[in-house]
Amino acid sequence: MKKVLVLVLLVIVGYFLTDTFNLIPFGENRIGNPQDEQTVAGYYLNNTVEKTSVANTVTAIVVNYRGFDTLGEVTVLFLATTGLGSILFRRKEDEEEIERINKPSSSLMQTGSRVLFPLIALLGIYVFIHGHLTPGGGFQGGAIIATGFLLMLISYKNFKAGHTMLNWVESLAGITFVSIGLWGLLTGGTFLENVLPAGELNNLISGGVIPIIYIAVGFKVAAELTGVLDILLNIKPKK
């Protein structure tokens, strides 16, 4: 009976989704001519190079035009980490019994991850430093660095991610983001106003405050995701 009801519901949802998306032809130009600035996308595409000197339009939207949105997003990520820590709390006396990995990893795995970890971290840092020039940015770079930390956490028994360090990195990155926003509010008039000179297109140092904010976001996301993985890997195992 329940299955029949669910199938009826799925048919209804599917019918209305198909019906709606028949009205939106795939691959049609809905921006119009960007020079007319009739649409939001047209405005962004037309003004990004001139006003912010950022090659990657998506970065300009995420960090500058919708920077407030991104601030909310990193706050949500921070709250998720905190919530995870409080849902999976552990008492002080349990601390000794915690075993992240039962058997030590093979020496192949240990050597491999020790060799790969600096390279992965370097790739992540490259991705978020060049976020305004090439595809990528703070979120992607932070996730790549967290993957490197994951490799170390699962191959070394006594590798500690260091919660004090993670908290400091996270807090400093968040403070950098907010204080750049307040700086824009004080000197330019709006929160997250791009107060630094825009520079030249396709130079590493260009785009005003955008690279600085994206680097801060990169460190913050890396610290938060590493914190999530560390909490999840350190759960007390079943007896």
Partner: protein, 126 residues
């Protein structure tokens, strides 16, 4: 030219069809399945379908990625819509946070009831 139209309809069906299929499969898993991890898997599949729909709406036939490079500053007329891409970027990271919190609740429930199936959890308090 007629061939082109035909191909285009195939691609349209492929993209929209698979996105809607993902949403429906995920919804089925959320509504029917009893195991909590299966329900979270269903939620992340719904997420994937919605992201695909968003990016597909912003795509323009024969467009290029919205990234300026030296010498193609006049490519602005062919660029795909960057706004849905920025929104999906945000949504993927939030989706990860939601999945992590949901899974931590699953672990906590399992520790209290020694089961992760919602039809075997008898008591309401935990």
């Amino acid at each position: 030219m007629q061939n082109f139209e035909q191909y285009n309809s195939i691609i349209t069906t492929g993209v929209y069809g698979s996105a809607i299929a993902l949403i429906l499969i995920g919804l089925y898993a959320v509504l029917i399945k009893k195991h909590l991890i299966k329900i979270v898997i269903g939620l992340s599949i719904i997420d994937a379908g919605v992201h695909l729909l968003f990016v597909a709406i912003g795509y323009i036939k024969g467009g290029t990625a919205p990234i300026f490079s030296p010498g193609n500053e006049d490519a602005v007329n062919k660029m795909v819509d960057p706004v849905p891409q920025a929104l999906v970027l945000t949504a993927i990271v939030i989706g990860f946070a939601v999945t992590a919190v949901a899974l931590s609740l699953v672990i906590r429930l399992y520790k209290h009831h020694n089961t992760a199936r919602i039809d075997q959890i008898k008591s309401l308090k935990w």
